[in-house]
């Protein structure tokens, strides 16, 4: 190492031992640090929510809305009636399984079809012009309105339920993938152009990797929608032979058994949260190590 007063490349120095001086500092790597707020916040809100729920059951409903308390059974009753007794627990969990199954298959199809559509649209402007308006229309349409028609034509099996699920959840994957594929840095495109890269090489080595953060954001939104699509679709496919949780809830509603309705809702919410966390984790694994901001 040369001394501080002459930290430069010295003339005649052996080319193999040129000294390099990097002065501008690299940005610090943020350390994953445990913070109390990550636990405390959700926990505090949970306690407040439970308290409010209990209060609504005991006197709130009566006081403010002049309605009987059994409309909102207490959390303890919900747990006891839904999950401590084996019959309703079995029905609800089996329902949840079927719903999760429909949502999962629906999401898989959504991802494959949505990304394929986006890839085609990204490669040909005319394809984008032709397809995109229909995706937007699908997004804006109350799909539920035509669910009875779909049921009438295709029957009440799993297929039509998955189909509805895909219709409801496909837009975010398709539009985010398209956005990601088209927002590649121009300089990086020039780099590939100068290298004489083929369109396929450009797609797989530049566009897809670059689009990954946007694509995963699309996955996360679509995953949530696929759960909604599975549950809500079911409520219109009442006669289904493999009753999902939406159908189970609907049955309990007809029997006016409120604790089990709430129990079903809790399970659906848990499924939604699980899917959301799963995709958050996946995003972190796939793009977290290079993307600037992964949350």
């Amino acid at each position: 190492m040369s001394d501080l007063h002459n930290p430069y490349i010295v003339p005649g120095e052996d080319a193999g031992e040129v000294e390099h001086h990097i002065l501008d500092a690299a940005p610090p790597t943020p350390k994953a640090k445990f913070e109390w707020s990550t636990v405390f916040g959700p926990l505090a809100l949970f306690i407040v929510f439970m308290g409010l729920w209990q209060y609504m059951h005991e006197s709130g409903l009566r006081t403010f809305f002049d309605k009987p308390g059994f409309l909102v059974p207490s959390p303890v009753t919900v747990i006891n009636e839904s999950f401590m007794r084996s019959r309703p627990r079995g029905k609800l969990l089996t329902g949840l399984q079927w719903t999760a199954f429909v949502a999962f298959i629906g999401l898989a199809i959504t991802i494959v079809v949505g990304m394929a559509l986006a890839t085609i649209m990204a490669r040909a402007k005319w394809a984008e012009r032709a397809v995109y308006p229909y995706l937007v229309a699908l997004q804006a349409m109350p799909v539920l309105a035509i669910v009875p028609v779909i049921a009438a034509v295709f029957g009440y099996g799993l297929g039509p339920r998955i189909f509805v699920c895909v219709m409801i959840s496909i837009f975010p994957v398709a539009s985010n993938t398209l956005f990601g594929l088209l927002s590649v840095d121009k300089g990086q495109h020039d780099l590939f152009t100068l290298s004489g890269a083929s369109r396929l090489t450009r797609l797989f080595k530049l566009q897809f990797p670059s689009a990954m953060p946007a694509i995963f954001t699309g996955f996360r939104i679509s995953a949530g929608l696929s759960v909604i699509g599975a549950v809500v679709g079911e409520q219109f496919f009442r006669q289904g032979s493999k009753p999902g949780i939406g159908i189970v809830i609907e049955e309990y509603r007809q029997k006016i058994r409120f604790p089990q309705i709430y129990g079903g809702l809790v399970l659906v919410a848990a499924l939604g949260i699980a899917v959301f966390l799963l995709f958050g984790w996946l995003t972190k694994v796939v793009v977290g190590h290079w993307h600037e901001s992964t949350r």
Binding site: L23, F192, L194, M212, H289, W290
Partner: protein, 266 residues
């Protein structure tokens, strides 16, 4: 020593340079003009050569069409009239931004061009390792771009260009975005590469001192349409030490170019 100045309108007379065996130009512009589809007249009737061992820098006001020169030289754009002669396979392009792929670490970024050119895996890994050492980024191979400073990113970008061993370097204002001190360090790096490899270089900048420090020849460009209005041969020998920047002779040449630029601007 006195900087040799020529008005460019009459036939350019070349001043003989060190061990000048008058080699064939590695890059030559023959009456190149460029009018963009939106009507911008970016470049007008430009003719010059860059020979192996020549480091030619173009300075000019922003928006004068300097970058257009490189876009045409590399083949990214086709000129409206005139032609460029260069072996495109031998061209290395250093971009204005580092344009590193954020999802690849330094090693894999530096390998990229070799990978796209179909160089076998083991060989391109070796070449990348060498190039990374050459630009002083040893030890940072596994870092991702977001973990690097601006100067380090430019070093990685330089290394990426080095991997295919180009004999013509095109530099598109590569150090415009880094601070002054880092820029000088990167200039030292480029000088030492040039001194070792004696490629042909066409460098674009708006920093006069950067231009004089690096080059064998500085060309001044006017704005709209871009035209070469003056050129200066820079008489200093290589390798150039950083303290060269504080020599009176250096300041004198910078002054002359600055005047020429002001003339070009009005």
């Amino acid at each position: 020593m006195e900087a040799t100045t020529q008005a460019h309108d009459d036939a350019p007379t070349r001043v003989p340079r060190m061990n000048d065996s008058v080699s064939a130009p590695a890059l030559s512009f023959n009456g190149v003009s460029m009018v963009y589809p939106d009507g911008t007249h970016a470049l007008s009737e430009t003719t010059f050569d860059v020979r192996p061992g020549e480091f030619v820098t173009v300075v000019g006001p922003s928006g004068c069409g300097k970058s257009t020169l490189l876009k045409i030289a590399s083949g990214l754009h086709d000129p409206t009239t005139g032609s460029v002669t260069v072996d495109r396979k031998k061209v290395g392009y250093v971009f204005q931004d580092a344009t590193l792929l954020q999802w690849r670490n330094v090693q894999r970024n530096v390998e990229l061009l070799a990978e796209l050119a179909g160089v076998p895996k083991a060989e391109r890994a070796q070449r990348a390792t060498d190039a990374i050492q050459m630009v002083g980024l040893g030890g940072f191979e596994r870092k991702y771009p977001k973990q690097l400073s601006g100067g380090m990113k430019m070093r990685a970008s330089l290394a990426r260009t080095l991997v295919l061993g180009p004999s013509v370097f095109l530099f598109d204002e590569p150090f415009g975005a880094v601070d002054e001190i880092t820029r000088e360090r990167l200039n030292d790096e480029v000088i030492s590469l040039f001194d070792r490899q004696r490629f042909a270089a066409l460098f674009i900048t708006h920093s006069i001192s950067e231009a004089v420090f690096l080059s064998t020849k500085v060309m001044v460009m006017s704005a709209r349409p871009g035209r070469i209005v003056a050129e200066y041969d820079i008489p200093f020998d290589y390798p150039r030490v950083p303290d060269l920047r504080f020599e009176p002779e250096f300041a004198h040449i910078c002054g002359e170019i600055s005047h020429a630029l002001r003339g070009a601007h009005t």
